[in-house]
């Protein structure tokens, strides 16, 4: 996808003048900081740029992720200057978007499992989780399934399993969840739109 360079060029200009000013001073730390920034600018120019949309409020601001072509890692995220709503600007949360990437040490990386009455999480693999969850869902559903309600009407539902979430995933994922829940016969189906 083609992006204009306006935002990057503007930023480069600001960095350049900053270097000029700080070089007059004695303290070299700002100079180093600006030089690092300049390196980052060069990296950004050489990077693959991928657009995304902010994951906080519903304004739908555009962001540009700079991805290092060698490592495939995101190293910078900033507002998309071509986006008609935010025009490159971001709020405090959007500006901190980078802290959602894998650079954040708190990101979940493994399947975690806590056995009944357990006191800690244990790391597991996907095969374990998927087959165990499927078994639990089926057993709970089959044991508690209501074919007809008190009036004798056909209802084919399971009130023993609840589904909550989510308005912070993509449309295609939302549709998958909406359909999955109905296929299982769930009726306690809700998410953040309610609250």
């Amino acid at each position: 996808m083609e992006l204009t360079r306006r935002g990057f060029l503007n930023l480069s200009g600001a960095v350049g003048s900053g270097v000029a000013l700080s070089s007059l001073g004695i303290n070299l730390r700002p100079t180093r900081a600006y030089a690092d920034e300049l390196n980052k600018m060069n990296r950004i120019k050489a990077a693959k740029q991928v657009t995304t949309i902010c994951c906080y409020c519903s304004v739908g601001c555009g962001l540009v992720c700079s991805v290092d072509k060698l490592t495939g890692k995101i190293f910078n995220i900033e507002g998309d200057a071509d986006h008609p709503i935010n025009e490159g600007s971001l709020c405090a949360k959007g500006a901190g978007f980078f802290d959602l990437t894998e650079a954040n040490k708190h990101r979940l990386r493994k399947v975690l499992y806590r056995k009944p009455y357990g006191t800690e999480w244990e790391e597991k693999d996907w095969d374990f989780a998927l087959s165990r969850i499927a078994r639990l869902v089926k057993d709970t559903r089959d044991k508690n399934f209501t074919v007809r309600n008190a009036k004798g009407e056909l209802v084919n539902r399971c009130e023993a399993i609840g589904h909550y979430g989510s308005s912070n995933v993509d449309n295609e994922e939302c549709w998958i969840m909406s359909v999955k829940s109905r296929a299982l016969g769930l009726v306690y189906i809700d998410h953040q739109a309610r609250v």
Binding site: M1, V50, T51, T52, I53, C55, Y56, C57, S58, V59, G60, G62, C65, I74, P84, C91, A92, K93, G94, L100, T101, E102, H106, R107, R109, V111, Y113, P116, Y117, T119, L130, R132, L136, K138, L154, R157, Y164, G165, S166, S167, V169, D170, N171, E172, C174, W175, M177, S178, V179, K180, S181, R182, A183, I189, D190, H191, Q192, A193, R194, V195
Partner: protein
């Protein structure tokens, strides 16, 4: 939003009420400020002075929970001072309709109330009809049972004195807002309203918004550039998640969930397909069967046939009149009836009211499945404060998910712009997208049912569920195209108006929902998204064109806006009866040379003056007109002021009905209420802050944001702080009858006491972004420990914005 974010710049007056846009939607606020630069007046009505107030022309404080009183006074002002847009009101609203002679409103209650059930029989909330079955109208608007006269009578009780005494707003401030806002009731002025959770988080939340809808219809502000009612919603894809209806009462595209009493497809379609006898009403929902049958086909594909009612019996059905919302879910869980729980991309242990009840309920689960990018209080409930893990039987899974920029897919903003995102990087470790997790879980379940069978196994075994690609990853494009819809067989679409015939091949995508079929020839996962692809597979959600032909900032070539790329809903109402723009400065749409030019019109028909072919502008309404009288609401066709469930008052100054008569009262052992109690004398409201998002489940894990807003606080006005001997920065606790929340006192000028019914009433406020899990050194917990289990009568959106507390030193 009826309009969209960039459109805010087109307004002459912006009323921000129920929102703190500058702090919670900062980029939306940029467009509000742009309107201000063009000379617009910006008004902020809110209990608290915020950074929104600071940038507005003026701020008007009002007591939480009294918005209907405030706005009801505005309706009275508009009518009594003849400020309404007469042409619009007469032609585009149901003002002239005659209401049934049995309709009454007495002492806070409408006709048909059943106190035991707390529900209304709405049989008198209907219009008289002529011999053809078309609503009778009095175009002089003088008939005593006309909607206009009933509206006038209803709000004549909302006098300045009365409203001032209820809301705590001075009469001068009321008049100032009313005068400025009512100035938009002319052809060449636009007024808009921005709300957020400040309006929805009430037991009268839906009616707060409806009161504004009435005002916007009276002033001719619906369907125009710079007008409308604009919800600044709080989650990145809350529009999309609502559109796809991960909600108990609706199916994707706002189709109705199946009630148990409608045993056959035929009965269901008859009930939900409205019929209008008025030839000028487009009554677009007459197409309902096409949308619904196409949805069933999207689930079960070839297995859904005419012979099996397209799988109608396989769908779950809810008991008539019963709700299954979040609060109902946790209520049932508390009673031990819910055994398993999926909590996906959410932290309900923090975000649901009455958190103690919610957390206790979760301890009764057999199993819990969490899917998220970070851990949170819901997934760790088994070792939360005061919980002994050795006593919690629940088997828990926490599945690592990809973050937003690590996956491809679309996201819908509040302005209905469906924007495509691209995958920038791989997710760390074993994390995969939530959609992929969900597909894989159901695939495993499907295998079990194929092998072992089980009750209503057909619904699962027959489900079309081939959404993984060759490498075992979620095929996002395939899902997006299934949502858009495709032809299930070779189909000829005939356009009688254009005299064309188009042939579509089996498997081709449906280019617009106007081509959906009710005979099984199309499968469509969500009809409102039909048209997000072209027939040949071009993804319009990826569009990045910046053209702006109207100069109004519609950006028609940027992303895809549902429905059919329409940027402003009800846009035909921006023109007069002959299709000429009311406001020549802002030409949203115009009927020229036999066609509409501008935004995508609300239907292709000629304007209303063409009595043979023309249609009314509000095409989704059965009668085609804006509903000043709205019989669909649970608590009455006209909004009425009721006090919050917990209020400082013992009597409603407007009637003998203290609280909303149609709300459901939860009566469990943990559902305690303390209204007008000496123990809890202060009104409390809750809100967010710029640096955190919702429950803080994403933002508390981010060092930069956490440093800015590290822990829970309560904002207390200077006068109350002095009375209580509380100092700024001191650690105190806020208590309600449901629990206590330790926090830091922030003594501020932003809250001032209100004068309500002759008494001084203090209000305090707290952010809802915190929990116990992280930051680790925090002594605070969720604000929702304090809030009551009660919600709006129509939506069950909880009343987080007005409840009663005390503030105490530790």
């Amino acid at each position: 939003m009826t309009n969209h974010y960039c459109d805010l710049k087109n307004a002459d007056v912006i009323l921000i009420m129920g929102s703190n846009a500058a702090e919670h939607h900062p980029i939306a606020f940029k467009w509000i400020l742009r309107a201000k630069e063009h000379g617009a007046t910006i008004i902020h009505v809110d209990p608290r002075y915020t950074r929104t107030s600071a940038r507005c022309d003026f701020h008007v404080p009002l007591r939480s929970g009294t918005d209907i009183a405030f706005l009801g006074g505005m309706i009275a002002y508009i009518i009594e001072n003849d400020k309404y847009f007469k042409d619009y009101v007469l032609n585009y609203t149901n003002a002239s309709f005659i209401v049934n002679s049995g309709f009454r409103f007495e002492d806070g209650l409408f006709s048909g109330y059943d106190a035991k059930k707390r529900k209304y029989d709405k049989s008198t909330w209907v219009f008289d009809q002529d011999g053809r079955g078309v609503p009778q109208r009095d175009r002089t608007l003088s008939h005593p049972r006309s909607v206009f006269q009933l509206l006038k009578r209803h709000y004549s009780r909302y006098t300045l004195d009365k409203v001032s005494s209820i809301t705590g707003v001075s009469k001068e401030n009321l008049l100032k807002v009313y005068e400025i806002y009512a100035s938009t009731g002319v052809a060449d002025k636009a007024g808009t309203e921005c709300y957020a959770l400040g309006w929805t988080h009430h037991t009268v939340g839906s009616q707060n918004i409806r009161t504004m809808a009435i005002i916007q219809l009276l002033l001719g502000n619906m369907g125009i550039a710079g007008g409308g009612i604009n919800a600044l919603r709080g989650e990145p894809n809350v529009q999309g998640s609502t559109d796809h209806c991960i909600l108990y009462g609706n199916l994707p595209g706002y189709l109705k969930m199946l009630p148990a009493s409608l045993g056959t497809l035929e009965q269901y379609l008859k009930k939900y397909t409205p019929v209008s006898k008025d030839p000028q009403s487009a009554n677009y929902y007459s197409n309902y069967p096409k949308f619904f049958v196409s949805f069933l086909k999207s689930l079960w594909d070839d297995k859904a046939t005419r012979n099996n009612d397209f799988g109608y019996d396989w769908m779950p059905k809810i008991d008539d009149g019963k709700a299954y919302s979040t609060m109902h879910l946790f209520d049932a869980m508390y009673e031990g009836k819910v055994k398993g729980f999926f909590a996906i991309g959410a932290d309900p242990a923090v975000s649901t009211p009455n958190s103690h009840k919610v957390r206790k309920a979760m301890g009764k689960l057999d199993w819990l499945v969490g899917e998220n990018i970070f851990n949170n209080e819901t997934y760790e409930f088994w070792r939360g404060p005061g919980v002994d893990p050795a006593k919690i039987k629940t088997e828990c899974f926490l599945l690592p998910a990809s973050a937003s920029m690590e996956k491809e897919g679309s996201q819908s903003n509040s302005g209905r712009w469906v924007q495509w995102k691209y995958k920038a990087a791989e997710a760390p470790g074993d994390a995969i997208p939530v959609g992929e997790i969900e597909i894989k879980i159901l695939s495993e379940i499907k295998k079990l049912y194929e092998k072992e069978g089980g009750p209503n196994a057909e619904a699962i075994v027959n489900l079309k569920w081939d959404y993984l690609d060759g490498k075992g990853h979620m095929n996002v494009v395939k899902v997006a195209q299934q949502i858009n819809g495709r032809f299930t067989k070779d189909t000829v679409i005939e356009d009688t108006a254009k005299k064309t015939k188009t042939v579509f091949k089996k498997g081709q995508l449906v280019p617009t929902f106007g081509m959906l079929k009710d005979d099984g020839a199309t499968a469509c996962g969500n009809w409102i998204m039909s048209g997000s692809y072209t027939a040949d597979g071009v993804n319009k959600m990826q569009s990045r064109g910046k053209e702006d032909p109207t100069g109004l900032g519609l950006f028609p070539n940027w992303s895809f806006a549902w429905p059919v790329n329409r940027r402003i809903l009800y846009n035909r109402a921006s023109c007069d009866l002959n299709g000429k723009p009311y406001n020549p400065k802002r030409r949203l749409l115009e009927w020229t040379d036999g066609k509409w030019v501008g935004d995508v019109p609300d239907g292709p028909w000629p304007p209303q003056a063409d009595r043979a072919k023309g249609k009314y502008p509000f095409i989704m309404q059965k009668d085609g007109l804006g509903a000043l009288f709205g019989p669909g609401m649970a608590e009455g066709p006209f909004p009425e002021h009721y006090e919050p469930l917990e209020s400082p008052l013992t009597k409603n100054p407007l009637s003998g009905q203290l609280i909303n008569p149609a709300i459901e009262i939860f009566k469990g052992e943990m559902d305690k209420v303390a209204s007008a109690s000496e123990k809890f004398p202060y009104v409390c409201t809750t809100y967010s802050c710029t640096e955190h998002w919702c429950s803080g489940a994403l933002t508390r894990w981010q060092a930069w944001l956490l440093e800015m807003q590290p822990e829970l606080y309560v904002e207390i006005g200077e006068k109350l702080a002095k009375e209580k001997g509380i100092k700024n920065g001191q650690r105190i606790k806020v208590t309600s009858i449901r629990g206590e929340a330790p926090c830091v006192a922030m003594v501020t000028k932003r809250f001032k006491p209100f004068r309500v019914e002759g008494k001084e009433v203090h209000q305090v406020g707290m952010p809802f972004n915190y929990g116990w899990l992280f930051p680790k050194d925090s002594t605070s917990d969720s604000t929702n420990i304090l809030t009551p289990t009660v919600g709006d009568a129509n939506t069950f959106c909880p009343e987080y914005k007005a409840f009663m507390v005390n503030v105490e030193k530790l």
